[in-house]
Subunit: 195 residues, 2 copies
Amino acid sequence: MAPTAETLTAERILEATEEVLRRHGPAKATVVDVARALGVSHGTVYRHFRTKAALREAVTKRWLDRTSEALAGIAAGDRAPEERLRAWFTGLFEAKRRKAGGDPELFATYSVLTGENGAAVGEHIDDLTAQLTRIVRAGTDSGAFTAADPAATARALFHATGRFHDPCYAGEWQQPGIEDEFTAVLDLLLRGLRA
Amino acid sequence: MAPTAETLTAERILEATEEVLRRHGPAKATVVDVARALGVSHGTVYRHFRTKAALREAVTKRWLDRTSEALAGIAAGDRAPEERLRAWFTGLFEAKRRKAGGDPELFATYSVLTGENGAAVGEHIDDLTAQLTRIVRAGTDSGAFTAADPAATARALFHATGRFHDPCYAGEWQQPGIEDEFTAVLDLLLRGLRA
DNA sequence: CAACTGACAGATTTCAATTTCTGTCAGTTG
DNA sequence: CAACTGACAGAAATTGAAATCTGTCAGTTG
């Protein structure tokens, strides 16, 4: 019972799927390609994932979870709430910008995948706003922020910064003035948040 | 020289183009269709618009300008700046929401057109942020707002409210909680803006 | 002579025939 | 007997030939 390279696990299939998506793009990546990459018949892939859509959704979730985990560290930190909020949004923007700019094709691929999987994206956003809510609540508890409903405020913050993390704006993330725009929006929001 | 129904003006061509777009959608609307609707040969349409792209751009500009004009009235009003700002954004959101919800196909058509005409959209956004800048400046002048750079602040306000006017979010404008989300974002921004 | 027509070349789109893919399952393998 | 294969039916994608469209321009019309 060798651990990784021998047995066919869901994890190995997801890795192969990611590789096939990277190579072929979202429109041409087939289950047959994934099976071929793994050296098995495509029927075998269907033992682990009921449909092609389920396989794509699982890949999408994995990708979204990686972003969540990176930010969870910042959200759980012990810095002052305002500083933490700023670091969190900066981290989110930087991560997105790096992914979109560094490998545009892969980013476009995942944009298609997230477009297909509204439910997974919804969960991811719930996850991120929950992190934000914790920071906002820390601020109201310490008296640094004023927010009657921390969860609603967290959602408002997330929506108001959409330009800097929503993939539909990815094309504008490489423009020159974008950093200043980001700072201007964040400053305005933080001013509104302070007690 | 009859005024409207006889002579072929650019205006009449634009009206016919709008009608053809409404009927056929952006993918199937052809210059030949427009010419047929006007009872002329398609060569004649090319006397008034050099290319099909130019014709589409002109239609797009007309549509965008209608929104600008409606809001210009609010921006130029004499109400208190905060109230005016709130009315302006509410007017923008309501107008978009009504268009998107009332005739989704036509809205989708114009979304395609705006996607094609980045330059025209850019001018439209410049126009809108100029209106916003005037309101913000009125606020800083009267002492109601604090904003070191009114133009930059206006842009920040526009970006932060993208969820409520950018067509890429049109699908979410009919969801139940959207009004509350809008109010939450606007409240937060106005709090940050107050002196 | 200004406004318009209609035929034309090259680019784009359509449509139907063909190929490939998805998802299933009876049968094979170790 | 659990994991896998591969043939199969229906769905979806691809391909290339035919139709349509874009943009031009010499010629027509009032």
